[in-house]
């Protein structure tokens, strides 16, 4: 299977994620901003401001059921807490709040023709590269899941 199936599957999954993020409004800074403020600064939480948060939480719940049903015995690597968990999470959150783009969202924004997202994507790539260099020098543990 491997030679052609896996690359084709990767392309299919990437395409699906791009369509879903775009049609959900995750690529719209205004929508993501509403998700993070929960509408607290504009009349309180509402179905509109909580929509993306519900989608995200619902997705985690559904994936929980999916993994439990189909992959309970599988050798999926575990994700323990380590020295970078808190600091890295906080840095990433700051960046996501400002740019409205997690790594995938920024790429999808660019695909949609939102050319300004090119600056976010460049930042993500340079930030990853620089952090790896620093990590190698100071002996931090880093990697990302793939």
């Amino acid at each position: 299977m491997n030679r052609f199936v896996r690359p084709a599957a990767m392309a299919a999954f990437g395409f699906a994620l791009g369509v879903a993020l775009s049609r959900l409004g995750f690529t719209d800074w205004t929508e993501v901003h509403a998700m993070f403020t929960m509408g607290l600064l504009s009349g309180g939480p509402s179905a509109a401001t909580l929509r993306l948060l519900f989608a995200f939480c619902g997705a985690v719940g559904l994936a929980f059921v999916g993994f439990a049903a189909f992959a309970r015995r599988d050798a999926i690597p575990s994700r323990p807490i380590h020295k970078g968990t808190v600091a890295g999470g906080l840095l990433f959150g700051l960046g996501w709040g400002l740019t409205g783009g997690c790594p995938s969202i920024a790429v999808v924004q660019l695909g949609e023709g939102r050319l300004a997202a090119g600056a976010s994507v460049a930042g993500v790539l340079v930030g990853t590269w620089l952090t790896r260099r620093l990590a190698a020098r100071f002996d931090w543990r880093t990697s990302t899941c793939d």
């Binding site: 559904l62 575990s78 899941c145």
Partner: protein, 201 residues
């Protein structure tokens, strides 16, 4: 133009990491895939040094893996997880550059197709509130680049992003993923409330 309701998003984003694992046999995580592309220049350099004539892609992969380990030491976790039970599916081979690249390019293409289908060009910026907060000039691009640097640094140090930790790891109740998810949500909410306070929304 209206966006999907929350439940449609939950279905799509929830099915994705499970289907991805069943087919690709790697934990789903986009920062890792982008990170794979970031190592491209290093890997090219290694390939050049070792000469062009390599027998197979597997040989090249092994060589690149060894070189990565030499450079980064044990910072790179070992490939392969412990089997957690009999008859469980094993972890698949590490993704190649072409596979990571196919995913990222197709993801951008998905955004383009969704946009064409929705029938309205979004313009070069990110949304009305963004322009209200940061304008639409060099300063706004600077914010995006700096924010992107934080995203790249954070996901590298935390070893995952909203897909790897937020979706995949949290759904498997992994402690590191749950903690990272809480941290990035709290930080994003904090900075968004600050920005929102400035623009009044």
């Amino acid at each position: 133009m209206s966006y999907w309701p929350w439940w449609a998003g939950a279905l799509a984003l929830g099915a994705l990491p499970v289907a991805y694992w069943l087919v690709v046999r790697r934990p789903f995580g986009v920062s890792g895939l982008l990170g794979r592309l970031v190592s491209l220049p290093d890997e090219w350099a290694v390939a050049r040094e070792s000469g062009a004539a390599l027998a197979s892609e597997e040989e090249l992969d092994a060589l690149l893996d060894a070189a990565t380990r030499e450079q980064f030491g044990d910072a790179i976790p070992a490939v392969g997880g412990k089997p957690v039970g009999p008859r469980g599916r094993p972890l698949g081979a590490r993704l190649g550059l072409a596979e990571a690249g196919a995913f990222v390019v197709a993801m951008a293409l998905g955004g383009l197709v969704a946009r064409l289908y929705a029938g309205r060009a979004p313009g070069p910026w990110l949304g009305a509130s963004f322009e209200r907060a940061f304008g639409h000039g060099g300063g706004a691009l600077g914010v995006l680049f700096l924010g992107g640097l934080l995203v790249g640094a954070g996901t590298t140090v935390a070893e995952g992003c909203s897909t790897g930790h937020g979706l995949t790891g949290s759904a498997r109740l992994q402690p590191g993923s749950l903690l990272a998810t809480v941290c990035f949500m709290v930080a994003a909410m904090g900075v968004s409330l600050l920005v929102g306070w400035r623009i009044g929304s």
